[in-house]
Structure formats: structure tokens, C-alpha cells
């Protein structure tokens, strides 16, 4: 075990994967000698050479198109998009190509080796274009897997699982926690399961569900609620697509209440999908409406970021409201 922040854990996972398999490649804008604008790919070019870790020209659709081709050829590309806000020029390659490669060819060809990494999320004074959480756009695309880690240990295990997974994976990294989240991480290779949620804390009164950086917000909100005598069960969804309905449903059958939180705007956010499915599965057991604590239905602001953000006070109030309904 070693103490690492999330960037170090991600760098360590990439290093581990590249050392184990020479077909693993890392590329994107500024990922070469510079090691990426956040330094997630530090020293990889120095260690594995320019043919396996390199700068690309500044063209996201090109990066992902190139990665699709590489993956179809049997390589294991890990492509970086510098900010999730800048993934949209590659939307066509991801939604129409990555996601449908296997299906349209009757499994003759696939891009299962592909992993796309992108930092997402707000809380860093990034304004409109360095703060977005685009997971729901991609969750609407069968054929993709969408994964979001919450801390360094999770980041390494889930990223290695994503790289090894036989399907293409979008891996959204909570950049607010890149350096802020520090923890013990095994130095050897390990994988954490994709498509499985994790119950972080058991409780009886209300289930509180999130992913990525929101888990830190939930942790503090739950601390406040527990002081009021509310027993919270906390779940990290970890995979947005496919998502672990059973673990969430089982929890809600027990608590009868569910609060879901994400940074992305409320309308069309992934909480809506979860709420619809859970009310199907748990209708007669629900004691209060499923609550969503999300960003406002606006672009991400700058100066009034705090007001916009689904922060711990808002999550705390939603927990209280759910229990007192």
C-alpha cells in the first residue's frame, strides 16, 4: 500500500496496464512529455516511449476516431479528452461508432479495448466550460459503459477494470478531487467490478445515492443528518451504465426512502432514470417521494457557482425532508 492522491492512482493504474501489456497506449492533447494538463500521464512517455504515449493534434473527434480504429485493430487505447466539456466534437465517434461497432458488424469487429478518460465536474471556479458533468448524455447510449470513481483506491481499481473490460468504457474522473482526495492504494494490480454499486455505510432510515465527487458531499451531509438521529445508508453507484439496480433496490426496500444527487442539471439527469426504475421496483415500500438534488437547469455558472451547486446543505435538507415527509 502507498499513500496516493487520485492523480497518482490514475497514473499508477496506467503505468501498471502499460507495463503488463505492450498493446496498451495512452494519448491525447498534451499527454506526452508534459504528462497531461493535470499530469495524469506523467513519465509514461519517458518510460514507454513516444510510440505508446504521445501528444495528438488538437482534435477530439480525431482522437476518438483514431482510438476506435486502434481498438478495432486489437490494440488497447486509453484516450484522454482534456476536459469532459471538450468531449463533444467526439460525440459522433463515441455515440455512432464506439457504441455501435460490435452491434452493427454482428460481432465481426469491436472496439472493446477502448477506454476514454476525461476529467469532469465543478467546484473549481471553471465556469461554463470546465465544470460540466456529461454522464447522462452517454448513459443514453447502449453499447457504452460509463464509470465514475470517488477516490484514489477506486480510481485505480476501476480504471484497470475499464482497460481490461471487453467493452468500451467512458471513465469520468472527478477533477475537484484529483489532488484533494488522498488514500491508501495497493501498488500491485487489482480490479474493481464494473456495473456494481458499493454500499459504503449501512443505515435504516434513508438511502443516499451518488457517484464521483458527490460522494464527498454526501459523506458530509450524512454526518449532519446522523447528528439529528437519522440513520443513512450510503451507496456509491460507481457505474452509471450499466447501473446496479439490484443493490439500490435492495437498499430502498429496507429504508423506504431514496435521495439521489448529481452535479449535472436536474432535467434529463441520470437521477431521473434511477428514480423511475426504483419506483417500479419498490413502489409499495416507498415512504416518501424519491428526491433528486442536482444542479439547476442552467449552464454551469462561475461567480454564483456555490448557489448552483448541489452542496452538502442541499443534500442534508433533502435527507431531512425525505425522512419527515
Amino acid at each position: 500500500m502507498a499513500k496516493m492522491n487520485m492523480l497518482q492512482a490514475i497514473n499508477n493504474a496506467l503505468d501498471t496496464a502499460m507495463a503488463a501489456n505492450e498493446r496498451v497506449l495512452c494519448f491525447g492533447e498534451d499527454v506526452g512529455i508534459f504528462g497531461g494538463v493535470f499530469r495524469a500521464t506523467s513519465n509514461l512517455q519517458q518510460k514507454y516511449g513516444k510510440s505508446r504515449c504521445f501528444n495528438t493534434p488538437l482534435v477530439e473527434q480525431g482522437i476518438i476516431g483514431f482510438a476506435n480504429g486502434l481498438a478495432a485493430q486489437g490494440s488497447v487505447p486509453v484516450a484522454e479528452i482534456q476536459f469532459a466539456d471538450y468531449i463533444f466534437p467526439a460525440f459522433d465517434q463515441i455515440v455512432n461508432e464506439t457504441a455501435k461497432f460490435r452491434y452493427r458488424s454482428g460481432n465481426l469487429f469491436d472496439v472493446g479495448g477502448l477506454t476514454i478518460r476525461a476529467p469532469y465536474g465543478g467546484g473549481i471556479a471553471g465556469g461554463l466550460y470546465h465544470s460540466q458533468s456529461p454522464e447522462a448524455y452517454f448513459a443514453h447510449t447502449p453499447g457504452l459503459k460509463v464509470v465514475v470513481p470517488r477516490n484514489p483506491h477506486q480510481a485505480k481499481g476501476l480504471l484497470l477494470a475499464a482497460i481490461h473490460d471487453p467493452d468500451p468504457v467512458l471513465f469520468f474522473e472527478p477533477k475537484r478531487l484529483y489532488r484533494a482526495s488522498v488514500g491508501e492504494v495497493p501498488e500491485e494490480e487489482y480490479q474493481l467490478p464494473l456495473g456494481k454499486a458499493e454500499v459504503l455505510k449501512e443505515g435504516t432510515d434513508v438511502t443516499v445515492l451518488g457517484w464521483g465527487a458527490q460522494m464527498e458531499v454526501i459523506e458530509h451531509a450524512v454526518e449532519m443528518a446522523e447528528k439529528d438521529g437519522i440513520s443513512c445508508e450510503v451507496i456509491d453507484l460507481r457505474s452509471i451504465l450499466p447501473w446496479d439496480v439490484d443493490t439500490v433496490a435492495e437498499s430502498v426496500l429496507k429504508t423506504g426512502r431514496l435521495v439521489i444527487t448529481h452535479e449535472a442539471p436536474l432535467t434529463g439527469g441520470f437521477a431521473g432514470e434511477i428514480a423511475a426504475t426504483i419506483q417500479e421496483r419498490c413502489f409499495l415500500y416507498l415512504e416518501s417521494p424519491i428526491a433528486r438534488v442536482a444542479g439547476l437547469d442552467t449552464p454551469f455558472p462561475l461567480v454564483l457557482e456555490k448557489e448552483h451547486f448541489p452542496n452538502l446543505l442541499k443534500v442534508y435538507e433533502a435527507i431531512c425532508d425525505s425522512v419527515e415527509f
Binding site: F34, P57, V59, Q61, H130, P299, P301, E307, E317
Partner: protein, 404 residues
């Protein structure tokens, strides 16, 4: 349109485009004298000084605001340092009501058009006088009255928009064009290719102005393209192109002046590639020592575009050391005083969270806002920027004044 008949050959002959090697247009030497055979454009003393003052304003604003960022007064900053001649020389060759669509490093063009230090500061601090209502990161300026489209962070998106805007100008028939700035890195985006092709096909009065400053964050131009810069791409679209010394304000001015004439009078889009150097870091979040040498930077510091312009002005007797000293002192004072005022102004009204998403606020968003206001009233201490907002306290709203 040329109608050269394609030649047929009967053996497989490939061409590598080497015949398209593009020369660089230069007029002004570093000492302020003209190259032999070069003829300076016809610029009045008044215009020359307007250009020069904008260059110095940009440099001083950049120096002070980077320092302010380092002191923690500002979250972020981007400097134009080293590229002032490329940006201001080109803006000066336009009509003041031609449209400018910038990337994000072209504050010099705004300074030339007359954006005041106060206007810069209000955006940088995102206060209640910021035209953008505190929504965007620092340096994302915009000004309707100065025909300067508000900056968007995603790269290259403005390039095809410029083609569209200019097509509209052509239909309007008022003799205006659009100039769009972008870097050599952004020119790798698909949007660049779409923009040039559409402009050539539809004969649009647009000037594509590429600031080839050598770096896209850490990525050197040598890793951005294998070709000889961005300029040769114009041939593929049947577009006129010129490469110019970007640190040479006279060459930039003359090239852009001519390009404007071609665009407006003949509906010929033009690509200009200005060869320059990003002397500063990409942004306040970047540290170039990880990817380039001090020696390389020193070479370009010797080619400082502002000094070169100053030498030229002095050779005409249009500028003196005293005037330089006075201008610098006045600007430094103004920047400092204006910064203090801007920093003290309150943040934008809470209501700006939900306005401008649509023309009218939709009912669902209004409901979210009501919920937010109630929440802030319960926890005023947690929201220092909005606890005293009229929407929370119920006191009347003060209106924002000033023409954007």
C-alpha cells in the same frame, strides 16, 4: 476561378506539395527600419499611436493581471504577451464595425477598439458590471458595441461561425467582413476545415487569422502538424493565403488591409498565418518550464513586437522616451486603481443564475429558483455572495447600467 485543364499522365506520379512552400511577408526590422524594397502601409500618425497605445495597454494589463492572479485576487488569467503586433495590427486594418470573433488571447484587439480598463476589470472580476454577468472565466470578454463576439472556451467553434456571420454580412450588403482569430493548435479541429471549405464554396467575406505562436499549451507546432504550418491548407480549399511575420505590425497591418479588400470587394475569403510566439505561459494554470527552454524564449524576447513598433514610431519622430514613460506610468496607475474599484463591486444579482438560458425563464426553472431562494434564506451564512441579494432580502433590485 481558374480553369487550368488537368493534365493526364501515364505513370504513377505523386506530388508532395513541396512547390507550395510559402514565403513570409516582412516589412519592419527589429530596429524599426524597413527591409529593402519594403514599402510601409499608409498609416497616419494618429492611427499609428492608437495601435501603439493599444499594444502597451495590453502588455501592462497582462503583466498586472497575472500578478493579481498570483496574489490570489483573480482565479485565472491568460496573456497575449508577444502576440500584440499580430492581434492589434490585424484589428487596426479592419473597419471598426467589422466583426471580430476571437479565440481567447486577443484582448489587444478589444483594447484597440476602445474597451476600457474598467470594462476589462469588470469581466475579470465577474462583478455586477460585467456584461457577461459573472458567468464565464476571466478573459472571456465580449462587446456588442465594439463588434466583438463573446469568447467561448471550446477551441475552433468560432471559425465556422465566422463563415456564417460573414455570409450574413455579404447578404446584408453593407460592405463589412468578419475576422476570426485562432491558434495553430485550434486549426487541427474539424471546425477549422469545415469553416474554410464553406467560406470558399460560398465566397464569403471572412478573414481567417491564424496566430501560429508555436505552442498549443505544451504541444509544439512540430507535433501539431507535419506540414509547413497552417497556410498551405488554403490551397486545398482554393483560398487566397499569406504568411506574415506576426511580430511585424506593419506587415500584419498591410496583409490584413489587403485581405479585407479582397473579402469585402470580391467576396474572396483569405487565410492569414501570422508567425509569432507565445512568450507567456498558456495560462496562469500552466508552467512552460516543463516543455520548453529559457533559451528558446530568450530568442523570441529579442523579437519583441512592441519594441519593434516603438523603434519605428521613433524613427518618424512620432514618439519619445518621455511619452513612453508617461504612458506606462499612467496605464499602471489606471490599471491598479480600476482593479481596486472592480474588486469592490458586488457580484451579479442572484437572478442572473436563471436568466438568459432562454429568452424567458421557463416555469420549471423558476420553480427551482424559488426553492433555491428559500434555501438561501434558511442558510444565509453559507451563501455570502447572495445573502444580501434583493431576491433574498426583498429589497428593490438596482438596475445594471451601461451599454455592452
Amino acid at each position: 476561378m481558374t480553369t487550368t485543364k488537368p493534365k493526364t499522365v501515364h505513370s504513377p506520379i505523386f506530388t508532395d506539395g513541396a512547390e507550395f512552400r510559402i514565403s513570409t511577408f516582412k516589412l519592419l526590422k527589429q530596429d524599426g527600419s524597413l527591409y529593402k524594397g519594403g514599402k510601409a502601409p499608409d498609416i497616419s500618425k494618429e492611427k499609428a499611436l492608437r495601435i501603439y497605445r493599444a499594444m502597451v495597454t495590453t502588455r501592462i494589463l497582462d503583466e498586472r493581471m497575472l500578478a493579481a492572479q498570483r496574489q490570489g485576487r483573480l482565479s485565472f488569467y491568460m496573456q497575449c504577451t508577444g502576440e500584440e503586433a499580430a492581434v492589434i495590427g490585424s484589428a487596426a486594418a479592419l473597419d471598426d464595425s467589422d466583426m471580430i470573433m476571437a479565440q481567447y488571447r486577443e484582448q489587444g484587439a478589444l483594447a484597440y477598439r476602445g474597451f476600457t480598463i474598467d470594462e476589462f476589470m469588470n469581466q475579470l472580476f465577474g462583478n455586477n458590471k460585467d456584461y457577461g454577468k459573472g458567468r464565464q472565466m476571466p478573459v472571456h470578454y465580449g462587446s456588442k458595441k465594439l463588434y466583438y463576439m463573446t469568447i467561448s472556451s471550446p477551441l475552433a467553434t468560432q471559425i465556422p461561425q465566422a463563415t456564417g456571420y460573414a455570409y450574413g454580412q455579404k447578404l446584408a450588403g453593407e460592405g463589412h467582413c468578419t475576422l476570426v482569430y485562432f491558434g495553430e493548435g485550434a486549426a487541427s479541429e474539424g471546425d477549422f476545415h469545415a469553416a474554410l471549405n464553406m467560406a470558399a464554396v460560398h465566397r464569403v467575406p471572412v478573414i481567417f487569422f491564424c496566430r501560429n505562436n508555436g505552442y498549443a499549451i505544451s504541444t509544439p507546432a512540430s507535433e501539431q502538424f507535419a506540414a509547413d504550418g497552417v497556410a498551405p491548407r488554403a490551397y486545398g480549399y482554393k483560398m487566397d493565403v499569406i504568411r506574415v511575420d506576426g511580430n511585424d505590425v506593419l506587415a500584419v497591418y498591410q496583409a490584413t488591409e489587403k485581405a479585407r479588400q479582397m473579402a469585402v470587394e470580391e467576396n474572396r475569403p483569405v487565410l492569414i498565418e501570422a508567425m509569432t510566439y507565445r512568450l507567456a505561459a498558456h495560462s496562469s494554470s500552466d508552467d512552460p518550464s516543463g516543455y520548453r527552454s529559457k533559451d528558446e524564449e530568450a530568442i523570441w524576447r529579442e523579437k519583441d513586437p512592441i519594441l519593434r513598433t516603438q523603434h519605428w514610431l521613433k524613427s518618424h519622430g512620432w514618439w519619445s522616451d518621455n511619452e513612453e514613460k508617461e504612458l506606462q506610468e499612467r496605464l499602471r496607475r489606471e490599471v491598479l486603481e480600476t482593479m481596486k474599484q472592480a474588486q469592490k463591486r458586488p457580484p451579479p444579482a442572484l437572478e442572473t443564475l436563471i436568466t438568459d438560458v432562454y429568452k424567458e425563464v421557463p416555469p420549471a426553472l423558476n420553480a427551482q429558483f424559488e426553492k433555491l431562494k428559500a434555501h438561501i434564506r434558511r442558510h444565509p451564512d453559507a451563501y455570502p455572495k447572495s445573502a444580501n441579494d434583493p431576491a433574498i432580502t426583498g429589497k428593490p433590485v438596482s438596475t445594471q447600467k451601461g451599454e455592452a
